[in-house]
Symmetry: D2
Subunit: 298 residues, 4 copies
């Protein structure tokens, strides 16, 4: 069993840390929110007074933070985690941030002789809870291999996309595709039901055909077609429209930086932005179906 | 074993009829192209001098034609198939045509007391050859149930989408979604490889994540990632850009008729039209990846 | 002075007929709504009990109706206007309808030896009131020339776009471009004001630059920038979102029929549809600025 | 008459400097390309061995450079122009760069007590030659007022959009709108001509209607409709596709930074990128008409 520091106990980080504890690892947690910490200490974690204190003497540091600036604050500041951690430790940042930010942080770690990888996830809160996340890693092969047993406790698949930052690139490509598919699935369901087709029958048809995709499999956006998904509980919880808009913004920045044409990605970013601007940024992203249909959502 | 007339022996119809023969059915075929007919008679089919002659005394009529006007010519003309066929027969049109055209033809059959269903397919030439097609049916439940054993010889799944015409609606919804996903997959692969990611690794990552879709599973658009797909043979064969453009046109007509918003479907139709207009209408539709990347395709 | 029948006294037809009366022509009007008729008889028009009665003995028939089916009812039915009118008369349909509908009606007139042109307008209710409409005509040159003096009473410009139906084609091209420009202007104003620019200053800059267009000149979509436009009175009146959506639907049907790529036209149709579906179909079309900004509009 | 340093003698800068000379100002020029310099000295300019030397003792500095990094090199480096210039001088940067870059350079000038404005232009090479440019200025009112007489020698209109950087914001808004309108105009002309309309007649109709815009007035994208424009000389010269793509990239960066929805701006950026990626980046931007029509362009 390994000594692990886990920093960032939000909707994603909390169940991820919980799964490490359940697997028998010795986990020290840190978060600014006391309630988030106490939930984990109840489950068997140690609490630390600061991130720097949490990482002392551990073999692994795992962080899961909302945005690039939080990751920079954690790792790049003076007296920060990279100074406090043993140089033999492996640092795993699971946050979704810009690829260039990830490269900068990983480079700072390398300067201090600390192995670090970016390991953003796919699978959402449900995947975090059920330990079925997919980890998309960027960094040296040795570091990814060393992190693998820890990541496999929290997820079902671990991929190395390439060197530092490549995990973030892979994540953004995936999420751009996800957004496009969720909108496409919604358009197809709205069009078919306008002709009187049953949404469940149509979903089954497309799932068994070339329209098959992840949304049809486990995240159907039409209310009542699938149990336990946000669409069947008023689009509460899940992956918020505003977070998808943020991810699409990162993907568009990448597209502009490399001069790549991403016409549907750009259209998706604008549709999610319009949906959020209309007051629905706090709903699950599958609610785009209702925006496209012009339906009121409370 | 049943007596079956099969009309229309193109890239799709030919292997479909072949699978009926292999299963031991007595199949009489008709097509305007002699070579298409002789290929099937070599395999054990009977040949007829006309469509009307082919359908005499059969229990099932299966047709697979390129466009709505061919289906109308076959079924609506004087001295046509609907006059020659027994009223106890079941007519199965597998062509992809407009829903309103399908409704009109099915209604003409009903007037003569002949059961008819629209049963367009998903799965392409590969699915026709391997008998793994998905049939998306519209028509009375009894007629679909009666057709089912015949369809199951040619495919792996048979769905009833609803009443007459609903098969075409379901097909168009599916194909619109397919087009969107193929473009989205291409955008994601182009963006990731612009950052140096390996297309195969990125494909594996998205397939194991929320970006998973049919293209990543069996029809990867990036050359060399997957064996046996059009992308790995210069985009030859497969489902042509011009045919996808036609299908997207039918979907857009539906969207306009019902006043449905389909922003990504509309964008997809224009991108495929631009790709075809640039001289690539005869390539497989997964070649949109190259169009988006600005690469020359021979 | 000419004897003229005017059929269809809505928001557009009423002031158009009024301008003919003011110019001294002898105008007989017909409409299903009695109040619409009495307003014109107060201004000096004769009233007729039916359209067929109205057109008896006149030199010109002018019609201005909401949609293609009304035009077909008026001209194609038995005992209709084309039977009642003198064969020496010139028929001018100012309605905005599909080009193929216009061609069919004009052909029916030609069969009876009656000269007919399609003459849809640009300029809106304001242009109808101020007699500054632009007429976009389709039909024989002689018929357009014969209609010209009458049209010039109601507008400032008369163009012949080509043979029968060409007026409708020209109108649809113009309105598709108008929709694109109104959205583009709104995007530019929203983007600039997000950076703190004054909307009036930015409007002046673009009007004096290569961004200059009709919206910036006479129909600014930003509230308060321009007096007397819908944007400065809560987007009431003007050219309704639902009517623009209808016109964009006609343009998209044309685009599909000819296989033309119109990516921004298609995007505009979807944005207007989404705006209308969100409950704003009865506002002026310049309100798209608020939809794009995510602002509530009462 | 004023003493003026002019730095950057490309397609735009050269005729702009020439107009200052013609108006009788004493102009000292600097450029890395000797031929560009000698053309201006032939016209009466003084040549300087460096930018720093050029600006010594002048009342105005005007710069016109290709991109942000050139502007930063010129103004921000040690021993640069801001050190060499008199603090009483007014610096006018006419380059099109990111607003934040402009703000940074203007701030550096302010630190040294030098008044500086960003003053990007609209009007292209033709406007530069005919002195009909529009200047879109950002900076203090006093500085803009002081620059105005100099700018009016080179253009027909001078606007102040707001404080430092606002000129760049206004320019990007304008150019995004221009791109949208050029594509919209092209779509309308392609659609109308597909129906047999004459492109010149249709252009006249839309110019007299609500579709009126700058492209129809002075920059028609259809070959042969208008004399002297790029469309009538094989799309040579003018404003290049790759430069429009660059400007749209800057506009998209702005849109992402502020979270503004710009769906048509995003679509325009992708269409221009696709056009450039297909090998046409060096053609005038009005050639998008041919890309949309699927026509070969040499």
């Amino acid at each position: 069993m390994a000594k692990i520091a886990f920093i960032g106990l939000g909707n994603m980080g909390s169940p991820m840390a919980g799964n490490l504890i359940k697997a028998g690892h010795e986990v020290t947690v840190y978060d600014l929110v006391p309630e988030a910490v106490s939930k984990l200490t109840d489950a068997g974690a140690n609490a630390a007074g600061s991130a720097a204190e949490a990482v002392k003497g551990v073999e692994y540091v795992v962080s899961m933070l909302p945005a690039g600036r939080h990751v920079q604050d954690l790792y790049l500041g003076d007296g920060g985690v990279l100074e406090a951690v043993d140089s033999s430790a492996t640092v795993i940042d699971c946050s979704t941030i810009a690829a260039e930010e990830a490269r900068a942080v990983n480079a700072a770690a390398a300067e201090r002789g600390v192995a670090m990888i970016d390991a953003p996830v796919s699978g959402g809160v449900g995947g975090a809870e059920k330990a079925t996340l997919t980890f998309i890693c960027g960094g040296d092969e040795a570091a990814v291999d060393h992190a693998r047993p820890i990541l496999e406790v929290m997820g079902k698949a671990v991929f190395r996309a390439g060197p530092a930052g490549a995990g973030q690139v892979g994540k953004m490509c995936n999420n751009m595709l996800l957004a496009i598919q969720m909108i496409g699935t919604s358009e197809a369901l709205n069009l078919g039901t306008a002709y009187g087709l049953d949404p469940e029958a149509l979903s089954e048809i497309m799932k068994a055909s070339s329209g098959n995709n992840w949304a049809l499999q486990v995240y159907n956006p039409y209310p009542g077609v699938m149990d336990g998904v946000p669409a069947s509980r008023g689009y509460q919880g899940g992956f918020l429209v505003d977070l998808m808009t943020k991810d699409l913004g990162l993907a568009m920045n990448m597209s502009l930086e490399k001069g790549t044409a991403t016409p549907l990605g750009a259209a998706a970013r604008n549709l999610y932005r319009l949906h959020g601007a209309a007051g629905h940024g706090g709903l699950d992203f599958s609610s785009i179906l209702q925006f496209l249909a012009g339906n009121d959502i409370e």
